[in-house]
Structures are given as C-alpha cells and as structure tokens.
Symmetry: C2
C-alpha cells in the first residue's frame, strides 16, 4: 500500500446546473477531474496504443484500469511493490479501478458465485482465484486507486425480476462489506454501485439503500448490456433522482456519444467505455459527421483530414488516404493515430458538454451535435473535384 | 512528380577525418544530414510503431522507405497524386528509397530476371509487376525520394565467382540505364551500388566503373547477407578506398552497433537497418551493456530504467518491470516504447561517432563502447538489494 501523503479530501463540487445536468469538479489525491468526464480505459495498466503523455494531451484527466486483469498479471502485490499503479504505468493523474466482478463474469472460466464472493480460473493461465468484497477492496488499495469500486454482481440482461432483486440485494450486502474493508485516506474514495436491472422499484431501492451508507460516490451499473438506449435512459430517469446531489455519479461502461449526451442530460458525471480505443484499433473513427470506416476504399486517394472540424494531432497531420493505407497494410501506426483521434473526439465532446452546461445551453448543444452527425460524413471527393 | 522548387544542390561536404573515418554533411532538397548517419527503415511509408515526430525526436534526419512495398501498396502513382512520399507520411526531412530489387528477390513470388529487368508476382495479391532500371527510377521519382537508388542485383551469399562477376557487370549496365533515366533536379541524387560479393577484384572493378559514371553518391550492396563481420570488414577495406572521396558512401542494410562502428572506421557515411525497429517489436533492447530481452522474468519486479545511461523518453519514464509487463500482456505500447528506445540508442551511437571523429578520438570511443558492452547488462536486483 503506497501512501501519497495527500492532504486533499476527496469530494464533489457542483459548479453549475442545466436541467438535471451537472457541471462539477471531483477532487482526488492525484488531482481534480472536471465533470462531466470521460475516462479512457487502460485495461492492463495501459490505454492501448497510447503513451500516458498522449492520453493526457487528449484532455483526459482520469483513466480507468481493470482489477481483474491486473490481479492476474502482473499481480496487485507486484504493482504495490513497484510503488502502485500511478508509478507503474507512469500516469500521475487520478485512477479509478473497477472491482473485477464484471470481467470475472465475462472472461474467467469455471466461475462459482455465492454470498461470500466469486471463485474463478484465470483466462490467462487457468490458475484459481477468489474475489470477495474484502479482497476486491484490498487489491484496489494495493493498486493505489484513487477511486475504488465496490464488488457487485451485474446480472445478465433478460433475467427474471426475482433473480435481479436477489442479485441487487447481495450487491448491497457486498457494498456494506466493502465499506467496512475500505481504508480511509484523504483523497481516496469508495463508490457504491446501483443495480436492479430494468426494474424501476429495484433501481430506486438500490439507490436509496446505497445513499444511506453515505459513500463518497456512486455508480450506475448493469446498463449498456443490451437493453437499448431508450430503456437505459428510462432507468436513468428513475435512478439519478434517488442519488445524492452532493456526490459524483458514474455510469459504468457507457458508451456511444449519443448515450453520453443523454446520460449527462439525466445527471450523470462520469463515464468509461472501450469504444473509442477499441474502435481505433479496428479502423472505426468517431467524427463530427458520425462513424467512418477507414478501411473503405473510398478513402484511398482522399487527401483530406479524417475530421476537418477536429484539431487533434492525427487530423492536423495526416490524410484519410494515409490512414486508409496504414490499416490496409496492417501497420501499428494506424491504431495509434486513430485511437488518439477517437479519444480526442470523446474529450472534445465532454469539454463541449461542460461548456454548454455552464452556459445553460445544453439542449441546443446536444441538438447541434446530433444535427452535425445526421448530416453525415464528408461528401465523396468526386462530388468536389467534379467526377474525378 | 512533385516539384519542391528546391534551390539546394545535392552534395557532400567533408568536415573532419579520423583515419579512414569521415565526419560530413549531405545536403538534399529536404534538408541536411549529418554523417555518419543512421536511417530508420520506414518500409510501408511508416517507421513501424512510431509517429514521424517521434522518429525526428530520436535524432534521425533521414528515413528510408521501400520501393517494392510502396509500388504494390498503395502504388507509386497514388502517392504522387497525394503530393509525394513526404506529404503522404508526414515526414518533411530527406527520404532515401531503395530500388525494390532486394525485396523482389526476398519477398516476391515467381521471379524472372533477365537483362531487361525483373518480373514478379506481388506477395500481397499475386498481381504481376515488372521492375526495370528505368521503372525503378520512375517510381522513386513519383515517390519524390531525395535519394534514388539504382536497380541492382544482389547475388546470394556463396555464389561462384563467375556468377557474381556476371551479376556485378549487369548491375553496372543497370546503373548506366538508371543514370540516363534519372531526372536531374536540384537537391536530388541517384546513388550507384557497388557489388561483387566477397571478391576483392570484383569489388574494385565495380567501384571504379561506378566512380567513372560520376554519380552523386555510392552505396555498398550485397553485404550483411551472411558472410560474417570479419569478411564484411575485409570487403570494405578493399572497396571504400576505390570510392570517390567527395561523395557520400552508404552501406546498405547494416547493421548491429559493432558493424556500424567498424564500417565508420572504414569510411562509410550512411547506414540503414531494420534491427532497432524489428527488435523493438520483439522485446529485444539495445543498451550500453548489450542486448537485453525484456520478456525475461528477471525483469518482473525491476524498478530500474532499461538503460540508466540513456536519456530517451522510454528510459526517463518507465521501468523494466513495466516494459516486461507490456510484452507479457502483448500490449502495443511495448513495441512502441522499445522501438523508440532502440532508435534513440542507434542515433546516440551515431552522434557519439560524429563527435569522436571531430575530436580525433574515434578509436578510443569505439573501445569505450565495446568495453561498456562487454561489461554486460545491469547486475540483477538481488545483488543490489542483498538477496531479495
């Protein structure tokens, strides 16, 4: 366990409102986070294809890393001996770690889940591991995460209500066990996770019970698992009003730009998602005009930047033709440049949302973003050059 | 064909000597190159895993790119329409392109070689192509290469002397055809390539015949193909004295640091090799203490920089433990960081050689480099921490 000797208290300051949307600031031992904020995912202690300084340059102030992956490789104790995750991955800003529960259910083999916790085999080497609420907190302490997530169970989509209720109640008991296990330090926080599937009363019950525990922050889990955007927004509509106004609210694993905009309008402050990074590795670009597949042959001789509206280093330096070439030739620079662009695109969206809330024009901003996206990608070159 | 409108004449200026070693400066349409110089290899218009600005930051002033790869994908005419290779890959400095001949012989299928040129099938899509001396020059003109290499034939190691002589004479005839095809422009140059295998008289004959053509620069080809360092140095000993003193000399495809040092001591000015980049992708590091394999488990909890003597961003920022983790987890950041270090290591070596020649202490510098390498890698951590 690494001590930073921080004297900064963890906290959330509400700076402005626009409807249910909140413009705020989260303070942590490793720095402040302007919210609404997007957290790039650094699964194995690296935001794939990005140097830490490049991640910071996109505008990101906090990264997320995965307990499940790190506990298996290189191991939480190893990272602790090396000075904690900030030193290990050379990221000096705040870090949020998930609890590992979600990845255990999606990646590990031979899972056995009961009240005590979950036993599983590593997908890397088949070794046996056990994750309990207490061990999940201990691991995140060893990693020196600024924000520790409680261990929870994320039920599959489509599960019957009684099963979802059972699971939600166990997650509440696990939240209480995590609270007891969590070692209080200035600038560090434990977040509880609201569960309850798509059932309004279960979501409300979960949110209220967690609020009673007076944790430093709260997440909404179990969404973006296939229920669709309308259903997700409906759940947020009933959930966020039950969440304390003076604590940050984090929607886990979300999402596409339109998901983020809608969730911000419903009072969410923090997001994480693999979409910008994963898409960047598979030639899928996020642009003002929507998603663009750079493997498409229409880009082959296109001398224009990927997104003329974007000021990122990729758009300032390279053409669509070159990015197309890099992906066709399977060159590593393709994923590097496109990940950088996609992360910039997400961070620019968050900056736009923050400014719009401050100026009380969030609805207009959201409509502008949507209109630009609906207008679609750049006209094909032929339409410009006259049938080239 | 892109016109830069350069008014700089291509040329070589000899600034200092130390024995046979030369400290010089090559001027080109896209800038000057301090020699001895190492050219990172950017096969498919990208130095793998490196942004162009990162390549420049290692100290590289010129990159090499491969005619064979670019003629097949995206095609020389495509790159010309996009403004040439400098604009395409966003490298504003000088570029040398090889002729494609070497890769045709090592990568292409169904090769048919005769006096006219070489016909082959693409290793990418099986399409049929022909490379003649004239077409090789035309392609490099379309690419806008500052330095164009003549088409030559590089005979396999171990070939009988009469076959090597035949091949060398054809390469001379091809050099003459390239000279006629080459379009003179200020700041651009055609290099001839000395061949002749390991036969002293053939090497001398080739070097003298090329010198008579009064080309702007010369390369030594057909070495580092398995003949061994001693044999390579012996060939250089008989070849470089026959090469004009007022033209740059380029040893193609070489090599390890000790190869470069020995070749500089024999009067070579320019080098290219895939070793620092390719090794960087396979966890092999070049350090002051020799090569280090970062996959080795001894690095697992080593908090020290890869090379404490190195000032590169990788060594300034990350630990051996982290680099080890990245390669074990097959994270793209591993190749990115290690390629950057290896290229810095090579460029630092070249800078050291240049300074040593200026100061007339090349032999001492070479001995120091060799002594440090012989001292080996850092002591294991246990030896420091007392049997940890």
């Amino acid at each position: 366990m690494t001590e930073t000797g921080s004297s900064v208290e963890f906290g959330y300051r509400l700076l402005a409102r626009d409807g249910a949307a909140r413009r705020g600031r989260v303070t942590t031992a490793h720095g402040a986070i302007e919210t609404p904020a997007f957290m790039p995912v650094g699964t194995a202690a690296t935001v794939k294809a990005m140097r830490p300084a490049d991640v910071r340059a996109t505008g990101a102030e906090i990264v997320l890393s995965n307990t499940y992956h790190l506990m298996l490789r290189p191991g939480a104790e190893t990272i602790a001996r090396l000075g904690g995750l900030h030193a290990f991955m050379a990221w000096s800003g705040p870090i949020l770690t998930d609890s590992g529960g979600y990845q255990v259910m999606s990646l590990a083999q031979l899972r056995k889940l009961d009240e005590d916790g979950v036993t599983f085999k590593s997908h890397i080497d088949g070794s046996l591991h056990k994750l309990t609420p207490e061990r999940a907190v201990e691991i995140q302490d060893l990693l020196d995460a600024d924000i520790t997530m409680q261990l929870d169970e994320c039920p599959q989509a489509g599960l019957a209500k009684d099963k979802v209720a059972e699971s939600m109640l166990m997650s509440l008991r696990w939240a209480e066990r995590c609270r007891k296990a969590f070692r209080e330090r200035p600038g560090y926080a434990l977040f509880g996770i609201v569960q309850g599937g798509v059932f309004d009363d279960l979501r409300r019950e979960s949110a209220r019970a967690l609020a009673d525990m007076d944790l430093p922050g709260y997440a909404v889990g179990g969404l973006a698992v296939g229920e669709g955007q309308d259903e997700m927004f409906r759940v947020l509509d009933v959930t966020t009003p039950e969440m304390p106004d003076n604590k940050p609210r984090y929607l886990m694993g979300v999402g596409r730009p339109s998901d983020i905009i809608g969730a911000v309008m419903r009072g969410i402050d923090m997001f994480d998602c693999v979409l910008p990074t994963r898409s960047g590795r598979t030639a899928q670009a996020f642009t003002a005009g929507g998603t663009v597949n750079l493997r498409n042959s229409r880009h082959r001789e296109d001398p224009r930047p990927l997104d003329p509206a974007c000021g990122c280093p990729t758009c300032a330096t390279f053409t669509r033709a070159y990015l197309h070439h890099l992906f066709r030739a399977e060159e590593m620079l393709g994923p590097m440049l496109l990940t950088q662009h996609n992360l910039c695109h997400y961070q620019n969206l968050m900056a736009g949302l923050r400014t719009a809330i401050e100026e009380g024009r969030l609805a207009a901003y959201a409509a502008e973003v949507e209109a630009r996206e609906r207008a679609g990608d750049l006209e094909p070159l032929g339409a410009i050059a006259g049938g080239r």
